[in-house]
């Protein structure tokens, strides 16, 4: 009744190619953006922003990055944590060497550094596929973290090997460092996510995205119709690593404030991969939903016993949380192997027929 396309005619190519062709979708997205920009920063307290929303936004960006590579181009990667680390350490090096460069520009520059590293580790993808490629990217994960731990130059030789976000401003407002308020950091993370999600959405609908999907679905056939695997695969690695690199920079500078290599260990790579799988491979929306699930549900489960006034020892609470969370992952994968993105689609279709399903 509410969600119908009847009467919405597309009279130009531009309209036909819009990201959100249905008016209701456009309103819905606009509403979300208004709430995210106009309401959340004013009503959410610091705990919500700092511990819940900022990590969600950052992981969503990383998940989009991995989804471009794994979901769209079909190249399985376990090096996400390492590429995020490259972004973070590059930001640290650039901003401590050239404090006058705007920090947001530095984030993007670090993205390019990460893209370069991603291309190097993407080269094996030309010869090896599937699980074997995953193992090759695993090498990136371990090698890069080992390098950052071993070579003092990357952390300016400070005795503990941690990188700390120095205070940095944008338009006179603190955006990084301890003085930056959670609201500002939230808004910047949100803006990065919105811009890069939109870019990614357009990327996958265009020539590049189609060539990725062609490679994913059948690389021999793709080659025959004129798609060059070398450039296409390496571009996927580059763009994916760019996203992860920016996410990694935000991870340290907008969220944690300081980090050592351990913050980017293999579990981060797994976590982002789970987000992509649970959210839905080959879907930008799915990446965001998957990130929401993996980052928000454990926090909710941790706080749940206190909400219903159920006193519980902390260790028992943690164990129960892990059991329930693991169970939920299995449950969702059985119910809908294609992820949240597919669930969303089903919901939309149901909504079309509501309230008179046939």
């Amino acid at each position: 009744m509410l969600y119908r396309e009847a009467g919405q005619f597309k009279t130009s190519y531009a309209k036909d190619q819009a990201v959100f062709p249905i008016i209701q979708d456009r309103w819905f997205i606009a509403l979300i953006l208004v709430v995210a920009y106009g309401v959340v920063p004013f009503v959410a307290n610091e705990y919500w922003l700092q511990a819940v929303l900022i990590p969600f936004l950052i992981f969503a960006l990383a998940a989009i990055g991995l989804n471009l590579l794994t979901g769209y181009a079909g190249q399985l990667s376990l090096g996400t944590g390492a590429f995020m680390a490259v972004g973070a350490y590059a930001t640290y090096k650039i901003t401590t060497a050239f404090p006058e460069i705007n920090i947001l520009v530095v984030f993007v520059m670090s993205g390019f550094v990460a893209a370069g590293v991603g291309v190097v580790f993407g080269i094996p993808s030309l010869r090896i596929k599937g699980f074997y490629l995953a193992v090759a990217t695993l090498a990136a994960q371990f090698f890069i973290l080992w390098l950052f731990n071993k070579v003092g130059w990357f952390y300016n030789d400070n005795p503990s090997g941690t990188i700390t976000a120095p205070p940095r401003t944008f338009l006179g407002i603190m955006v990084a460092g301890p003085e930056a308020t959670a609201e500002v950091r939230y808004l910047i993370s949100l803006t990065f996510l919105v811009i890069f999600a939109l870019l990614a959405k357009n990327l996958v609908r265009g020539r590049i995205g189609r060539s990725w999907m062609a490679i994913r679905d059948m690389d021999v056939a793709a080659e025959i119709i004129g798609i060059r695997p070398l450039q296409t695969k390496l571009l996927a690695f580059a763009i994916s690593s760019f996203y992860c690199g920016v996410a990694g920079a935000m991870f340290v500078f907008l969220w944690l404030g300081s980090a050592e290599t351990e913050a980017f260990d293999i579990f981060v790579s797994f976590q982002v991969l789970f987000m992509v799988i649970i959210g839905g491979l080959g879907s930008i929306l799915g990446s965001i939903l998957g990130a929401a699930f993996i980052t928000l549900v454990p926090i909710f489960l941790t706080n749940a016993p206190a909400l219903v006034n159920l006193p519980m020892p902390t260790d028992l609470g943690k164990h129960i949380e892990e059991i329930i969370f693991g169970g939920m992952i299995i449950f969702f994968l059985i119910v809908e192997p294609n992820g949240f993105a597919r669930l969303w689609q089903i919901a939309k279709e149901k909504l079309r027929r509501w309230p008179f399903p046939y």
Partner: protein
């Protein structure tokens, strides 16, 4: 379809309930202390006695003394799994609880301490990282909100070398002696390295640094290297499961255990017991006594466990880390009491507790009143020196209990303090902090 309905219902409930828990509950006049604990994961062997120690001491203060000068202590645990990301979430969750917010935070993790150091001046919550965290924080001019007394990793490393020189028969005998540092490959484990390097240059001993990756369950490669290298002394900076694995490995290669010295985080009962008889002779540093021979323990058994010693033992009473936590909790409580001496007997804010920490002066007489006479050393903190560079002793495991095998060893102030000031100045420059005058 039924599945899907269930799923939608679950999600709806989840979203609904999540919205509620941001609501704040007004608290009575109580002194709130957040507890970041890790009772699960690979660091639980170290984390459990720590968590129990804090809990028992705070409970004791309430039950025996009726709170701090009449103000009840409240606390809440939050599980971090020794993970820095979860630590930050816990900190954010707990920092505004209680009538005056968190009065001070004991992260009990060097990684989490590093995360919280920049936040402390902004949130106005002091950090008491007792014997861990960032060594440079000993310079109170730069790190106004951070306290790491009674002593730091760097001081400890210098005291260890002093101990070795005594055992070897003098400073000149150190020339050419092989010393290995087996460390947790993280900010924590690396802390001692700069001091050891400086001292190696000064005294000519041959230092080898051997990193063990998180969480430290797999150390075969490290111990193979040690077998080849045959260092005369091994110093270890380990934590959690890494410690017991290392001690087992050392026993397996028949390394002389009395030449294997753990730092104070690598010498608790849970570290040596799994290695069985192999651990006999293993030594570690400490700045307080082990066992339950003190009045404070009697009080805990009496007031908390109702005289049930077995139950108290189940809760780790008398273990090294438990005892250390008692010292830690006592420092925190006494700092709050010191602050009350100036600001009145009401719940203290973080800012007032910071003053209390900086003006903390625990004398021998005060220790006696607290039932801790001879348990640890008196301490006097100052504005410039947040560390006090307290002395430490070497304790040895005989298969049943720990006992001291050295007297109190003073760290080498002349070596360590200039390094601390240099590192603090570098941090101040990077973070645009103007050091305050003291």
């Amino acid at each position: 379809m039924k599945f899907r309905h269930l799923l939608l219902a679950t999600l709806a409930v989840a979203v609904g309930v999540t919205g509620v828990f941001a609501a704040k509950v007004a608290a009575a006049a109580e002194q709130f202390i957040p507890m970041l604990v890790y009772r699960t994961g690979p660091y639980a062997p170290s984390g459990i006695p720590v968590a129990n120690g804090f809990r028992d001491y705070y409970t004791l203060v309430n039950k025996r003394d009726g709170g701090i000068n009449g103000v009840k202590v409240t606390f809440e645990e939050c599980e971090t799994k020794y993970n820095t990301k979860l630590g930050v979430e816990c900190y954010e969750k707990l920092k505004n609880k209680g009538s005056t917010g968190a009065s001070l935070v004991n992260p009990f993790s060097t990684g989490i301490t590093y995360q919280l150091i920049p936040k402390a001046p902004v949130d106005k919550i002091p950090i008491l990282s007792m014997g861990y965290g960032r060594t440079a924080a000993a310079d109170g001019r730069v790190f106004k909100w951070i306290f790491n007394f009674p002593t730091t990793y760097w001081s400890q490393a210098s005291a260890f070398i002093k101990y070795v020189s005594r055992k070897e028969g003098g400073w000149d005998k150190l020339e050419g002696v092989k010393i290995a540092h087996v460390y947790h490959n993280s900010a924590y484990g690396k802390e001692a390295n700069p001091t050891l390097k400086v001292l190696a240059k000064k005294y000519g001993f041959k230092l080898t640094l051997l990193a063990v990756d998180h969480p430290g369950q797999e150390q075969k490669a490290t111990w193979l290297q040690i077998r080849r290298l045959k260092p005369k002394w091994i110093f270890m900076s380990g934590w959690g499961v890494m410690n017991s694995v290392a001690i087992k490995e050392a026993a397996a290669i028949n390394y002389p255990m009395d030449h294997f010295v753990g730092n104070w985080w690598s010498g608790t009962d849970a570290d040596v017991i799994p290695a069985g008889d192999g651990a006999i002779g293993y030594t570690s540093t400490a700045f307080h006594d082990a066992g339950i021979g003190f009045k404070v323990h009697d009080d805990i058994i009496k007031y908390i466990y109702g005289g049930d010693l077995a139950k108290a033992k189940e809760n780790n009473i008398g273990e090294v880390l438990y005892n250390r936590t008692l010292v830690n909790a006592m420092f925190g409580i006494e700092a709050i009491r010191t602050a009350m001496g100036k600001f009145g007997n009401k719940p203290m804010t973080g800012e007032q507790v910071r003053w209390g920490l900086e003006n903390l002066d625990i004398t021998e007489a005060r220790l006696k009143e607290l039932g801790m006479e001879g348990f640890t050393k008196p301490i006097k903190v100052s504005c410039a020196d947040h560390e006090t560079m307290g002395p430490l002793r070497i304790q040895q495991w005989d298969g049943k209990k720990w006992s001291f095998i050295s007297d109190w060893i003073k760290p080498m102030r002349e070596v360590v303090r200039p390094m601390i000031e240099k590192a603090a100045a570098a941090y101040a420059k990077e973070q645009n902090i103007t050091p305050r005058a003291c």
